[in-house]
Amino acid sequence: MAAAEPQWPAVLRTKELRDKIAAAKVLCVGAGGIGCELLKTLVCSGFRNIEVIDLDTIETSNLNRQFLFRKHHVGQSKANTAAGVVKGFCPSASLTAHHANVKEGRFDLDFFRGFDIVLNGLDNLEARRHVNRLCLASERPLVESGTAGYLGQVTVHLKGRTECFECQPKPTPKSFPICTLRNTPDRPIHTVVWAKDLLFNRLFGRPEAVSDLDEQAQREDGQQAQDGAADDASASATAAAAAAVPDDPSFFLRREGPDGPEGALEYAARVFERVYTSDIQRLTEVKELWEKRAPPVPLRMPDLIPESDMEALRTALRTAKEGGLASASKALGLSNASQKWTPAQNASVLLLAIAMYHETRKDEVGSSSFDKDDDLAVDFVTAASNLRSTCYGIPEQSLFDAKGMAGNIIHAIATTNAVISGLIVTEAIKILAGCLSAVRNTFLYEFPSRKRQLVTVNSEPPKKGCMVCGKTQLSLRINTETTTLSSLLSGVIKKRLAVNTPNLLAGGFLYEEGEGLEDDEQAAYAALLPRPLAALPGGGLRHGTILTVQDQSQHFSVDLILTHTDSLDPEEAPEGFLLEGELPAQGQGQEGAGAEADKDGASKAQAVPEEEAPGPARRMVAASVRETDDGVLCLDEEEEEAPKPASRKRALDEGDEGAAAAEEADGGAHGAKRAKTDGAGAGAAAAADEGDDEVMLIDDDD
């Protein structure tokens, strides 16, 4: 095989290859941090036919690295702007931009078949999985990449020859049991998520966003009711649920009085009193919750904002309105983002932020969603979470830190993107040259680890047990009597399986989505959504049902074997289900490496080599999600979707031994598998010293 291949790197200087590069049609998915560098490196390396897809528009916080963009481009399409700038540099190149989501139907198989190679610089897992499936179906080579801070990776995926992107399971963001968020938070991330997902949506978001969470809460409550009173915790949670006043959404609407609408600050004060005084007070009365922990302390507005200060807020609101200010904290003179606010300052920011939302952005109320680059939304979440933290004795956060936590912000710098783009194009050239034996997966570390800065490994062959490129079945443990089709679709099918337009088939049951359905079909399918799985037509989706999930657009299909259960622990399965993969037995060699990694304790908290861990062949996908955190082998392209860190407790457990293992690993020579393991192992150790909430952030040393 090697003999038949052109010789790398000698082939590099052949005219034949230069011509191939100039003629090659390249698809770049993403025009962000990696994308900008990539487009530049491509044209500077002789590529002339490039199409680029990106959904995003340019933000100020992109400018520290997305060098094709200038300040005056803020707000414009990344794809269009990047293509325009590159075209200006190299008029002989053909650049086509699509300001669109790669998951749209027009980017179908035929579209992908129009390219010789696909290069990903994406910021979210769902889209990366979607592109992976289309590349497999269209048999197009895919070069995948990701960066986070100083770390980066480039992997090559060739159908039938190497692992596909999804052969290695990817961690998905951690979610928290909703009862913890609502009743018993004990860490900053809990109050931040509460402020962002619950309170923000309640006040400014779409009604559906709230009802999804309500449904989850009901599921947990029902769950615990079923568990009976044997367990203290669930009994108390049930009691708490009973005690909580059912949230009447209309309470949180601004009232219309005979003299016009309720004043914006008065409305804000009413929300404050409800959320931080009466709701907290009511919770403290649920004695069962506080047998093992200190109850929260309600806050009272007059203690924090005396009537005299309300006038100052009114002035600030007027000034903000007239001066077109976008930030409540700035309007109050709180300009140091690293300085924690006092409770009184938090209360002022909260009130002003709510009032400003209503006075300056009224149209968005009811349809807003949290955006980390929206100053007012960040002000609100910071203040709202800090006040709740004050109630519960949890450390408050600075705006900078709260923003990082709420936005899952991955730090990002120009240098890593530059390095990674050089590597992506090098691999792309190898593929075009036909030097398939020379392709490598590369992992970039910051400091030369054992004298290396890059760790390169040969690609593994495709995994037989991969649900995407292999053919395998997954087992789904779920309550078929209480889970609705709607939450199956959103929670399992779309979120966890990354299916875009699902078709579901099981015995006499059929459900379809997507274009091409008649109106009456759509209506009939929509009517099924609220029904519990077991009550669906064709006998229902019940214990033992094999449900085939297909996505025509992705040419993807997988079978789910359902297992009915009515006792899922919300800690273990916060999403309300457990997805388990059926894996073939591992080869001996890998088993050995896995065992070693497992013994040293570090691998438990690592991202991907998880699958090498020995033991039961049935791998708990949900468990791996809970335990993974660093995402070293699964870096998304900055911005979104940082794999959430493991819980602090978890990290603590692994920390000491992880560090010891890391030292031990330094000593000897290891294979590639081992190298991966090392990296992730150090991640576990890192989590130990940082604590969960800060893992992805930095310590600002006041």
């Binding site: 300040k71 240098t415 910051e446 290396r452 294979g671 893992v695």
Partner: protein
């Protein structure tokens, strides 16, 4: 640090999350000089301008030519014939308006030879695509300024080269990736002991029992162990196991079954904190003993060494062999109230320790005749909190690396024998050629010698013959001379083609005999340094013709800018996730895009 100016906070948000506002401030006060703005130099500087340095000055003597257009994104066709330095400066300024840029249209080598004072006004000089002989001179010049740090970057075909040079790089925040909390359970101070003893676990109610912090449990267990073992702590592995068992034995039971108590699970896992011995990390011990903090401490010493001297006084005095306590504790299973109390015990001790160090600092400053308040309390706190992770990296000068008297021949020989590193040794990487990064290092230096002799790089047409009908060069013709130059490099490092113990061939010490066809024989001795310089590599370097490929330039530009940021921010950055090697690239980084390997040579 003061409030952050808003637009910058937004622009730099994602990087502030890595190096913090003080790291950013250092970057924003840094003046950089770039020598040569081809793709490698332009890409490096582009990444730093985006990050927000104070200013840059580009020195480049060339005009924009057609060959610049394809591979340097910072020049455009409309600027053909204009000074390259001017064009790149203008484009870079567009990237970040808070950075001020200027240029000097001059050949860097001329500046090095004629105007060494020029380099005094920079914090960092980045020299790209330059040769060893000039770099050695520039290194001396930069060191003499007492200010300018030097970073040498090079893209040569598919090979990249990076080397920093400065007398010493002092780091306060090394932000290591894995760090155990400084718990001191092996050496508890009296207040901590008293705090632990104040708990009566036996009579505590179930809730308190299950929410007593593990620190208390372990200290009580340790105290019990000490009384039963004549004051000793567990030493052997059997004793350690017994100690863990004793911790588990403290669990509360119901009908003989231990209750589920998470704090005891944590205690068992953290038991090693008790019997592990306290040690000052060896790098820090090295610093405490360093002459720079001892006899060579002077009025003009860097604050770093004043602090190290103060820490040393603390270790020898109040600390009784320990560094100041950092004062933070990890999260643990406990009631909020107990956790806060425990936290206070640690914080108070840390504050006392810091105050003691501060007293030493004031005293030392007085002794040196410097104002006692010339180092702020905040700075002292920063050093105390990072005391375990202070580092100082000293770089050898290029002259030391290259001259026969001081060259580290052994290290080079080892690199050549071992393939220079472990880069190519990925598991299952069957059939991949052994890593040849050590040989590439030799060949890059050999290419410079080739240039010195011929005025051009191997495989490349003469550099200084504009329009003179640049005759095509057959790369293969240059192999013998390049090989000869490589053997000279080896010979200068004490690694002749014939090991010193077998002087039978080449008795005259000359290398001429290797220049011709005999080279294949001389250069293929397996396992010898010369054997590593094989025909394939020679051919590849000649084929490369010193071309500056954009993929390599982009890569090196990223790596070099990153290294520059480490030097400027005085942090080793926080890639807590993967690495455990805390030093910045202390040697020469060789990047080999042929085999996708990187190697650091400490020469």
């Amino acid at each position: 640090m003061g409030p952050v100016v808003d637009p910058k906070a937004k622009r730099y948000d994602r990087q502030l999350r890595i190096w913090g506002t003080h790291g950013q401030q250092r970057l924003e006060s840094c003046c950089i000089c770039l020598l040569n703005c081809g793709p490698t130099g332009s890409e490096t500087l582009k990444n730093l301008v985006l990050g927000g340095i104070a200013s840059f000055t580009i020195v480049d003597g060339q005009k924009v030519e057609a060959r610049d257009l394809g591979n340097n994104f910072l020049v455009s066709a409309s600027s053909l014939g204009e000074p390259r330095a001017k064009v790149v400066t203008e484009l870079l300024q567009e990237l970040n308006e808070s950075v001020s840029g200027s240029y000097v249209e001059e050949v860097p080598e001329v500046l090095i030879a004629d105007n060494p004072e020029f380099f005094q006004s920079f914090d960092l000089v980045i020299a790209t695509q330059m040769r060893e002989q000039d770099m050695t001179k520039l290194d001396d010049i930069c060191r003499a300024t007492g200010r300018a740090k030097l970073l040498i970057v090079r893209s040569y075909g598919l090979v990249g080269y990076l080397r920093a040079s400065l007398p010493e790089h002092r780091i306060v925040e090394s932000k290591p990736d894995s760090q155990l909390d400084d718990m001191r359970l092996n050496q508890p101070w009296p207040e901590l002991v008293a705090f632990a003893a104040s708990f009566d676990l036996a009579s505590a109610d179930d809730v308190t029992h299950a929410h007593t912090p593990y620190v208390v449990i372990l200290l009580q267990a340790a105290s019990a162990w000490r009384s039963a073992h004549g004051g000793r702590l567990p030493g052997t592995s059997a004793e350690k196991a017994a100690f863990k068992a004793s911790v588990n034995g403290m669990r509360r039971t119901a009908d003989g079954v231990p209750l589920q108590e998470e704090n005891f699970d944590e205690a068992a896992k953290a038991a090693f904190h008790v019997y592990g011995t306290y040690e000052i990390p060896k790098e820090v011990r090295g610093l405490l003993e360093d002459e720079a903090a001892g006899p060579r401490l002077r009025a003009d010493s860097d604050e770093f060494w004043v602090l190290v001297a103060a820490l040393r006084a603390f270790v020898e005095g109040e600390g009784q062999g320990t560094l100041p306590l950092e004062g933070s504790i990890p999260d643990m299973h406990a009631t909020t109230d107990l956790y806060l109390k425990l936290q206070a015990v640690y914080r108070e001790k840390a504050e006392r320790d810091t105050a003691a160090v501060e007293a030493h600092v004031r005293q030392i400053l007085g002794r040196l005749g410097r104002p006692a308040d010339s180092i702020s309390r905040e700075t002292i706190k920063l050093y105390c909190r990072h005391a375990r992770h202070l580092r100082c990296v000293r770089y050898r000068s290029l002259a030391e690396e290259c001259s026969p008297e001081t060259a580290r021949g052994e290290a080079l020989a080892a690199a050549l024998r071992a393939g220079g590193g472990s880069g190519g040794r990925g598991g299952g990487d069957l059939g991949a050629p052994p890593c040849c990064d050590g040989a590439l290092y030799v060949l890059l230096r050999a290419a410079d010698r080739f240039f010195a002799q011929t005025g051009r790089y191997p495989g490349a047409p003469a550099a200084l013959s504009p329009g003179a009908g640049a005759s095509e060069v057959d790369p293969a013709d240059d192999i013998p001379l390049l090989r000869q130059a490589a053997m000279q490099v080896l010979s200068d490092a004490g690694l002749g083609p014939n090991p010193r113990k077998s002087p039978d061939s080449g008795a005259g010490g000359g290398l001429g005999g290797l220049g011709g066809g005999g080279g294949a024989g001389g250069g293929s001795l397996p396992g010898t340094a010369a054997g590593a310089i094989n025909e394939d590599l020679l051919a590849e370097v000649c084929r490369a013709g010193a071309a500056e490929l954009h993929v390599v330039a982009a890569f090196m530009g990223g790596v070099a800018a990153q290294e520059a940021i480490k030097l400027v921010t005085r942090q080793f950055e926080a890639i807590k996730l993967v690495t455990r090697q805390f030093v910045p690239v202390a040697g020469t980084l060789i990047v080999n895009s042929m085999a996708a390997t990187t190697t650091v040579l400490e020469l």
